[in-house]
Subunit: 245 residues, 2 copies
DNA sequence: GCAAAAGTGTTGTCCTTACACCCATGC
DNA sequence: GCATGGGTGTAAGGACAACACTTTTGC
């Protein structure tokens, strides 16, 4: 390794006052927006409100809020989930930051998009301010701000992630049939899957617990109900699996 | 679908003045930090400077800067790359936002981490302020701020991405031997690969162009030199490839 | 008994892995 | 001629994809 003459950092050039340095930076408003996925009627849905900005009257908007002073980003996202759905202990993951200068009509606002997956049945919505409701992803066209773009990015993120990790179980009831599970995968990936191969796949993973219960109130032969074995699934990262460009 | 009584958004409640709304949000300083990967001497390296904060004297720091007013996040990252390396048209991807309240000693600063891959040979570093230099990832222990955590996240991101997309070519010279390519993958993934299978794999992908040139100045049988066929690689997203938990 | 979905195995193909020998060049 | 890495093929095993019939339940 050849030595290159460098301009070193001399002690007298060091910045002593970090607070003053940070004070000199431009500041921007920072928000968190949650893309909350649910699954109902064999459709992937998102929890949305109607925008309360006159400019976006009638348009759907993500659940978001500004990040408070001294609040972790993740904590802000969990707070929004808790405030809106009453749930904690839900799946949550940061997806991407959006910061186009013109993405908000009120001036520049940076937002960090979070994805959350939750089971619609597990709780009735307690609050219905701003027409909070589950909206089918397929029917979702226009949205306020750049929220449609954020939803698209999160949906692609979900499609990818669900093939690598068993996220889907967060969207289902504790006990579910294999048909429900397959419907979920088909809805998220937008494809149809072979039933036998699908069942074989999950059987071979050995991550489903047979509850010895059956579906109730179905107008056909009832299927077995399973639980996901969260304990057994202690993440095993994949190694060299080839390059699937 | 059952109808639920909702608190609707009434026209008189709509917010007319978006600017005023945004003005009421708390504001935070926003920076971009670039994790710039390079490959040299069969080692994965990162382009770093020495921190100029007295608190972190002698410690390595990522290349970062605050995001300017009306500057896109991506643009800020490209600007930093350009200022520090003189290069544009390099690979760049947003990885994650870091926003712990205490991550910066001067007060809360949000940073968006970007990953960049570039070929060390393609340019000599023009500027050596703050001892700008390539540092081997393996030897990197302590860093200023939470930059080690950021590096770790970006490295994991790289390991994953390089198995799904042909990113590695950004780290190599335009013309390279298969051995160099394999060394790169082995260095990034931290594993050894079977030479025959590795070559078969890339041969079957049919994305390498034989330049009909050979290595020069090697003390053994010279290998063929290839170029990556960027044109042919118009991304083909993978479909249902099973669930590899 | 009919509709609707549950449940179940086999086969062919492809991909991945493991593995060993000769070749070209510099010294 | 020796050291170093270049270059090549094959066989076995595992994963995936395609495919049809019988069973159970509600009505």
């Amino acid at each position: 390794m050849k030595k290159i003459p460098v301009k070193a950092v001399h002690p007298e050039q060091l910045i002593q006052d970090a607070v003053q340095l940070v004070r000199s930076y431009p500041k921007v408003p920072l928000t968190v927006d949650c893309v909350i996925f649910g699954f109902e009627e064999n459709k992937l849905k998102i929890l949305l409100i109607k925008s309360d900005l006159a400019l976006y009257k009638g348009k759907y908007s993500l659940l978001g809020d500004f990040v408070r002073d001294n609040e972790e980003l993740d904590a802000a996202a969990y707070r929004i989930l808790k405030e809106r759905t009453g749930m904690d202990n839900v799946f949550l993951d940061q997806v991407k930051a959006f910061g186009s200068p013109a993405r908000h009509p009120g001036g520049r606002v940076i937002t960090i998009a979070y994805c959350s997956l939750l089971n619609i049945q597990h709780h009735a919505l307690k609050i219905h301010d701003n027409e909070l409701n589950w909206v089918s992803l397929a029917s979702l066209k226009e949205m306020a701000f750049d929220h449609k773009e954020i939803v698209d990015v999160c949906y692609q993120w979900l499609q990818k992630r669900i093939q690598e990790h068993p996220l889907g179980f967060n969207l289902l009831p504790e006990k579910f049939s294999l048909r429900e599970l397959q419907n979920l995968y088909e809805a998220i990936l937008g494809i149809t899957l072979d039933r036998r191969n699908f069942r074989k796949k999950f059987a071979s993973m050995d991550l489903l617990i047979d509850t010895n219960e059956m579906e109730q109130d179905v107008s056909h032969r009832p299927g077995k109900l399973y639980k996901f074995n969260f304990e057994k699934y202690e993440k095993s990262k994949r190694k060299w699996v080839g390059i699937d460009f």
